[in-house]
Every structure is written in C-alpha cells, then in structure tokens.
C-alpha cells in the first residue's frame, strides 16, 4: 500500500514562513485534495514531496522513504506534475516521454508511450517540439509524464490551470478514471472548491502555511453547530471531536468516532454555550471561506 507522511514540516524562504509545522498522513489509496488560496503553501508542500525544495524542519516520506535524504529511491514510484510544466523546447513530446520512460526504467518504451499518450489524448502531437506546444498541450504532456511507469503515488499541482472548460473536464475525468481503480494515492492541489469536491475522497484545507481543516468528502461526520450568540473558545475533548473551527456564532466540527450530537450539545452547555442547531454538514465552501477570510 502506498503511503505519504509529512511530519512537522516547516519551510521558510528568508523571513517568510511558507509552511508552519505541517503534519498529515495518507496511508491508503484514494484522491486527496489540497485546497487553499494562492500563497497558502499548497505548492510548497508538493515541492517538498517531490524534492524541488527541502524542508527547513521536519521530514517528508513517500512509502516510508525520506524524500530529502534519498530522493532517487523515494521518487522511484512517484509521478509528479508541479506548477505549470515546461520542457526542453527542442525535444519532441515523444522524446520527452521516452526520456522519462528510460529514467523510470520502464521496459516496453513504445507501449508505455502509447499507453500514456492515449490516456491523456496527446497522440496527435507526439512529434511536435515542446517549444511549439500550447499551454493546454503542455499541461496534458505534463500529466502524461506524471503517469509514465504507472506510479503508486501521483502528485498533481493545479493540473487544470490555464485550460479551457473542456480541457479541464478531460483532466478531471482522467484523474477520476485513475482513482476509480483504488490502487494509488493521488494528491491534487487546487484552489477550485468544486474540482476538489468532484474528484477527491479527502480534502485538506491549507491556509497561511497551516492545515486548517481535514475532512472526508463522502461521509457526514462533520457537523455545523449554530450558537445563540458568539461564544468564547471551547476546547473539545478527543472523545467528542477530531477537529473544529469556530467562526463567529458557528462551529464547524468533525465528530470523533461514536460521538453523538447530544454529547456535543451537553459539552457546549457545560462550557456556557447555548446551542441553537446541530446539523450534518459537508459544505466545504463555507468551511473554506470561514478559514481563509
């Protein structure tokens, strides 16, 4: 089973802290969306996972192998598309794929190029030089490069950026198609909430270099607690909540396993908060807005 672990990752660029003690684990297949506004730290997180930048503190591992210590081994079963990809301008798309096939030690070169180019619909321009490709074509070539060798972990940083609506849909469909097989980890960084909701199983909201919220996109263990008035800070115990975020007279909360709504209400009352409603909640947009405003 593929796995990804970020443990206390801090990244500073001069006086700017791009990531501040970020930790999370992905220990099974599925698509995980990293959602956040521009400058939140999403790309930095993915750059650390792909050895493009090194963490100032903490450790990032892929399949248990430290990326900064053993990058070649850690990245052996990883495919990545980070930022808007650029390729050597005088090489054709076919040559670029062939280069990656050789670097990833894939045996049947022709068959692998045929497979990834068919999957990403780039067969029509395989013999065009990278310098002559449009933004959208490069984006698809980047995705094809990431898929070479059928990696266990696929890291995609805003893969639909700069594409027209049909191009965006095509890429999302490809990601869904790969995710449907449930044998890979796909990390998808995006600032489009609907994209994350459509494609991902789990969504991690990042803001100002920290993880703001981590939620399952399919289950309803999240509740929205509306209070009679704006309450003070409440520190929920582990038996009741995994995580929570207060926003005015609303608290977004992920229930701990087995926790009941009545327990949440009782706990709030004990802490001086009068609860108006507790409703099941999965509106990522509201959580996102409350976290990032």
């Amino acid at each position: 089973m593929p796995s990804i672990c970020l443990n206390g990752i801090t990244k500073r660029f001069g006086s700017v802290t791009a990531l501040d003690a970020v930790s999370f684990t992905i220990d099974g297949p599925g698509c995980v969306g990293i959602l956040g506004p521009n400058g939140a730290g999403k790309t930095t997180m993915l750059k650390i996972l792909t050895n493009i930048v090194k963490p100032s503190k903490g450790i990032a591992t892929l399949d248990g192998i430290s990326v900064s210590e053993y990058p070649e081994r850690a990245l052996a079963r990883v495919g990545a598309l980070v930022e808007q990809p650029e390729f050597y301008p005088y090489l054709t798309a076919r040559e670029i794929l062939s280069f990656v096939v050789k670097i990833k030690m894939v045996k049947d070169e022709k068959e692998e190029i045929r497979r990834v180019s068919e999957l990403t619909s780039i067969g029509g321009y395989l013999d065009r030089k990278a310098g002559e490709l449009s933004r959208g074509m490069k984006q698809r070539l980047g995705l094809a490069v990431a898929l070479v060798g059928d990696p266990d972990i696929i890291i995609l940083d805003e893969p639909t950026f700069g594409l027209d609506p049909s191009g965006m849909k095509r890429i999302r469909d490809i990601i869904k198609e790969i995710n449907a097989r449930k044998n890979k980890i796909i990390i998808l960084s995006t600032h489009l909430i609907y994209e994350a909701q459509e494609v991902c199983d789990r969504i991690i909201i990042v803001n100002k270099g920290k993880i703001g919220y981590d939620l399952n996109n399919h289950t309803s263990d999240h509740v929205k607690i509306e209070l009679e008035s704006t309450g003070g800070a409440v520190d929920f115990p582990k038996q009741i909540a995994n995580q929570w975020k207060a926003d005015g007279n609303v608290i977004y909360l992920q229930k701990a396993e087995g926790a009941k709504n009545s327990e949440i209400i009782d706990y709030c009352r004990k802490n001086g908060l009068e609860v108006k409603w507790v409703t099941p909640y999965n509106d990522i947009e509201s959580i996102y807005v409350s976290l990032t405003k």
Partner: protein
Amino acid sequence: MNAGMTKFAASTSYYFRNYYRSRSFYLMLAMSLLVSGLMMFFTLRYVNSLTGFLPNLNLTSLSMPTKESVFGFLWSYVLLYLPVFSSVFFGSSAISSEIENRTAFHIFALPISRSSLLISKYLAAVMVTVVISMIYILMQAATFIYVFQIPLISGFFYSVALLIIFIFSMTAFTFMLSSIFNKNTYAYISVFLIYFLIFTAYQFIAELLYKTTPFYLLDNAAGIIEKVYVNISLSPFNFNFSLNPVGFGEIAQSVLVMAIYAIVSMAVSLIIFERKEVR
C-alpha cells in the same frame, strides 16, 4: 549497463539532442564556418608573404616547417574564441535556465540524482562545443594539407588535444557561474565580465606592476593551444617572440591549471546544484 549508467546515458543523449537543435548551436556553427572560411581565404592569399607580417625577425623567407608553425599559431589564435563563445552559449545558461525556464519542476521530480543530471548536461555541452570547434579544426587541417602538401605536423595534434582539455575547463567554469544565478542574463554577463574584463585587467596589472604573467588565469593557460606551434606572446607589457614551440614544462603547467579549473568548477557546481531550490 546498471540503472545509474542507463539513466546517465539517457539524460546525456537528451541534453545533447536539445543542444544541437537549439538556435545557439546553429549560430555557433555559422560562426565556425564563417571564421574558418575567412582563415582559409587569408591562408591561401598570404601564404607566400608571411615575412611581411613578422618584422621583428628581419627574415626574407621562412623555411617550410616554420611557415607551417606560424600559420598553425595564427589559426589557433583565432580558434580560441570559438570554444569560449560556445561555452558561454551552452554553459552560462545551463543551470540558470533550468530555474528561469522552469524545466527544473519537471526534472527535479524524476528519480535521477541531481549530480547525474548536472554531469550529463556538462558532457552534452562539452560535446557540442567540441563538434563546433572540430569543424574549424577540420578546415584548418584540409587547408594545411592542400597548401603545404605535407602531412600534419605534431604541433597540430598537441594543439587539438589541449583544445579539448580547455573546452572541458571553460565549460565547467561557465557551469559554475550558471549555478550561482537563477537568471540566464546574469549568468551570461558574469561569464563575459570575468573572462574578458576581470582576467584581462588582472593580467595587465600583474604584468605592468609586477612584471609577471599570471599563468594561473584560465585564458593564459589556454594560450598553450597556440604556443605549441610557436611561442609568441602578444601581451603589450610582456612581449615575447620565439619561433620555437613551448617546452614540456609549460605545457604540463597549463594542463594542470586547466584541470584544476575544471575540477574545482564542477565540484562547486555540484554542491550548489544539489542544494538548488525552485521557489
């Protein structure tokens, strides 16, 4: 072939391909053909009036081997600029372009060590520079055989071997400067400033004030490529004119200087490239 070697061979081949298809390559190729064509024209036209260009010797004519050596010197004197410009074109942007053109996002995430990437790119840059220089060398050889009707002299082969060593060290030097910057323009300007301005100014000062030629400067060491024909120094403060080639000691010293430049520059480039981050 083991995995590391396969990856290294693949990246060298792809970098070489990307270099020889570039505009810079065709520009340098045109320069090489143009300059060697001009040299061929001047050789054919002035082969019998060479003594007029050498007033210091008060000679009425030159013996055949000397004439050949003087022409060898002149061809090599002009040749030296080709690998310099070629290295500047291919080496100065070698690392900075990976950052500026954002190709680093693609290659850094691949399962290949950065040292393999850097050394393979370095070898590819050396190879294209050798190809460009060889066009000039072949024109030189063809002209000599045609004009003098004798096989090539030993000085020619020494000169070519030293030229290849110089290409290795000059390319490594440009790679080192390229690794410091994230912008191609800064890298280009730095190489030109250091090689053509700082080295020359330093040499002038050393010769003028201390009456010594700084043998440890790369451009001085490269002068050995022409001095294996005849030992002429064209420096205004340290003029030297001898129709004999330099001795083994001076050749060994220059080779050592060039080798040190190559090794130190590549070591520094590797250290910087290994720590390079793309924000």
